[in-house]
Assembly symmetry: D2
Homo-oligomer: 339 residues x 4
């Protein structure tokens, strides 16, 4: 057995805790050796719930720990690019939650800096690529199951939060498309063979959360994306569903079609009662992608210890941001954006 990869996690919010537990207990070949959070309560959580590890309140101090091989960033998007670059300069591999950045120039900075450290890996966490069902769909398509894939329809739909908590964060989220649809954009590019985008149109509405109007955001949006070679994608993003988290994707080819998540079932239970026959829905992306987060961590750690590359590049992350920005533009202008 090889020496385990020593990892320091940064950010221990809800999603950070999920990553921390995975790295601590479930990833062969990984040791969660350090955790960093400016929030005292989060450090206390780490002490109480994780195996013994070094705790830092300051990112710079953690980077000085030369025993760490990699950092695992689950921090606000606005910090991503600076933190990635600092980690690279400190000689660490980097896992960073999506999106890379809301700003193309910032994406480019990371790409340039990363090129200077070819022995260090940087992966942005497009977690759906590690979901067993999406992986199965991708493999089937690669094997020709649907002929030539030419269209993707993909949606990210979140359960409505009546409190509209997220409205307060809307001004810094980049808007609905950059916050939610980047996943779908990345999936579409992956499934369609990474074609070059040529035109984007988008539309949207505020169905419930009027407060979004202030910052020009929407709670439901749709977009069409044209790629070279006559390939197409249609996206839908929503924050107002009644039934739960409903991520689904359809890939259409010349010889068939595949869908992932056509019914966003919570599990294998069906209920027969006076309302009919029903299944419950995955409540949030947490439950939907619970196992994918683990696969993602395993894949990244494996890639650092001689395993296969994960396939995800920084260019993929940049392209998702670029298309997301164009969708926001099209929405604002009411006109298609040509590339």
């Amino acid at each position: 057995m090889k020496a385990p990869v020593r990892i320091g996690i940064v950010g221990l919010g809800r999603l950070g805790q999920r990553h921390a537990r995975n790295l601590a207990w479930h990833v062969p070949g990984a040791t969660l050796a350090a955790a960093c959070s400016p929030v005292a309560a989060e450090r206390e959580w780490a002490q109480a719930n994780l195996p013994e590890l070094a705790l830092h309140s300051d990112y710079e101090s953690m980077l000085k720990d030369t025993s760490l091989d990699a950092v695992w960033l689950v921090t606000p998007t606005s910090l991503h690019t600076d933190q990635i670059i600092a980690a690279l300069r400190a000689g660490k591999h980097v896992f960073c939650e999506k999106p890379l950045s809301l700003d193309l120039a910032q994406c480019d900075r990371v790409i340039e800096e990363s090129a200077r450290f070819p022995h260090l890996q940087v992966m942005i966490g497009f977690v759906r690529r590690f979901d067993a069902s999406y992986r199965d769909a991708f493999n089937k398509i690669s094997q020709g199951a649907i002929g030539r894939p030419f269209m993707v329809r993909s949606q990210t739909v979140d359960k409505n939060d009546p409190d509209g908590f997220f409205v307060r964060f809307a001004p810094t989220s980049g808007g609905l498309f950059l916050d939610c649809s980047v996943h779908d954009i990345d999936l579409a590019r992956w499934m369609l063979g990474n074609p070059r985008v040529t035109r984007v149109f988008a539309s949207g509405t505020i169905a419930i959360h009027e407060g979004l109007a202030e910052c020009g955001d929407i709670d439901n949006g749709v977009a069409i994306c044209e790629f070279e070679g006559g390939r197409l994608a249609v996206f839908h993003a929503s924050r107002t569903s009644a039934h739960g988290h409903d991520t689904q994707t359809e890939v259409v080819g010349t010889g068939g079609a595949l869908s992932v998540g056509h019914n966003p079932r919570a599990n294998r239970v069906e209920i027969f009662d006076a309302t009919g026959i029903r299944n419950e829905c995955t409540p949030t992306f947490f439950e939907r992608f619970e196992h994918a987060f683990l696969n993602e961590a395993e894949a990244f750690v494996a890639s650092l210890t001689g395993g296969p590359a994960t396939g995800l590049t920084l260019d993929d992350a940049r392209e998702a941001t670029r298309i997301g920005i164009a969708m926001r533009q099209a929405l604002t202008k009411g006109q298609a954006v040509n590339f």
Copy 2:
């Protein structure tokens, strides 16, 4: 075009009205020429809702109408055999709702009498044989889609009626198995190639309607039926479902399996709300077999005017009764009944 078959319907209860409407408006080659009911309100309904036709309060009087080619019996089971025999003697073809009779000797009487009138047809309405989905399943099996079929699992489940209206009719219904499972018995025999039954075991319970205990009946029952050649059937009948009418049947073969009605969906609508993702259920057998009742009438009328035989024989009807009686016996004795 041939002269239409002139039909007289007998019994205009809820199901009788359905048959009457079909014969009046929807069956090419048929003319609903007469209707018979001892109930004045039913005759009034006929006058108001059907095309012009002769009305009778008395069955004997209707049989005297020599212009009628056939009678259509939607009457209480206890009347079936006498009415069929009278119709045959009057020179009429007969359609009769299931079951033929609750008594084997009565079935035999009809079979004997029918043999004396080979030019007259008698069909018992096992309506499921005319349902498009069951028909499709049967055809696929005939074409070898599941290899050699060796097991059927079939259920008839009715929505609970909190008033327990049916409890009052339990004493004359023949019990749960003879009232409900005859359909499943007939389906199993049809799908398995009409094998000879060798042994039956049954069990049951009163889940809700305690009043059934008085006449030895149950509101939920299960049964196992062994046929020659290692073929098997498992039946379930219930009067207490919360979700609606749920008829389903699975046929298992050596090379695959087919199911009909795995989800008893009311239609093509799905509802996404706080309870999850659901479809409504067919409320009663009326909605489930609405089109099958029409197909059945079309098939019977076609068989009288040169079309193919319907495939249903009086022996099929007798066998369903025979097995149903054995299931009731097994339930009472707590032991298997051997044939």
Copy 3:
């Protein structure tokens, strides 16, 4: 019982024959009294398969039959408007297959002429409004089941015809959107409460049938349609599916969502074999809307004999054409079309 409505059908192609059979055998209150086709073989089919009726090779001659109350047009789109106007002037009610016309000015001519004959009804056959599942969805929405509906996603997907037979008719079809999506446009307007359209964008591709390029048509298209009040629709049309005819529609509201046809199942049969668990797909719109065509005829005939209005107006038909034309324009220009 009232005197039946006497109807003359015009056009006895595949769909015309379906309508003729329905009117001849299945619609209470209707008598199919005449049929008109310039094709001798079609008139022979009528003689062999329908009850006795008057046969015409010429539309003008049929209109002279003063015993007819209504005409039933199942003719090429290019003939619709002239034939409707002639029928009105001859004092007949009109049923006409969709679309009313590919040309807005022609639509307006019919609307103007129709206004001169307020006692005569003209209905364009948007058959989906008479499908039991769409009707159920509409009723549920009207009763508030999903809160305020604000988005419709709807598709018309046809099985690929490897011969590309339809390519030859593409030049006169009006293109994919006017030929197929008019149904979805009409559904969206119906479900969303007939809002005014404000902007349209469309895109498309030729996935298989290169021959369409000649006349500027596509075999797969997508479109976004913005309506007043922040309402949205997304459409998809395709002629290249591998699995069959797949019409589906989702209506999203502030309190839930409804879908019709989420799985385009052919019937209630499921097959369990080495390929997994599957159901077959409705092969064509014929099987999918078999019962809806009958409901449509019953509803139109009922509306002529004192029953409720069908709810479909000529303005609905005009609007479907208007939006379909704008979608075609947007596709050609690569830019949104504003109204």
Copy 4:
């Protein structure tokens, strides 16, 4: 954090390796400290694939390791009872794969011996109790979702192995019911509140594997089980399915019903092609219960370190064997077995 539970695994066949990986990498609070197998290749697998641990070829020698807190038995059924008793006498907690034994007297020996060591836990691995969907169903039922549960229908269906490899092991497997249906028996008892069994009937057939006749076994079986209080269970077990591993269970109550695994879908992918719309099936119980095996290990380890009891008792395991034996008897005799 408490000191981890030190575990020694016994048996490293396919299922043993799964358990070993879980204990080695995925169970918080556990350390896989030893492994025992008489097979050299299995010990080599352990050395190559697991973290450093002590390897034993002999069970007695492993029991002498006083640092071990528990043993984990994934060994042939015939060894279970002796190995459990030896472990208890060596002061170890025991996890043991199902079934406890094929012999009631052996079950009783373990129960008696276990009573002498009240501080030591023995759990038999009825893995389905730890599956997220079965757990959800149980919780819903406990909360009254279906009223009073009175009937369970449950099946264990395995994909046909054309080689009939398992036929060779049939003589020592205890037969289809003891090998497969014990899971369903345990589920039924769990869901119905552990009622006392009163009568059993069973039937079965050889659909494919004629070689089973020699030892009186079958490849498809059905059984009815009556419990006190009018509760019922119906079981089905098969080794011959074409579509894969299909475990499903339905619990019927007076106010509704729940099913687990109604469609044994492999994952969230659906395929639309010329065969229709389909999903693949879970190939074996391994994939179906992958996460349940992990949950089971976590639950058992948690119960040893102050967590809640798992709820599974040795009496549960004995009862599953007792009912399974009665089902085999009923099959042989062709008569119901009364308790």
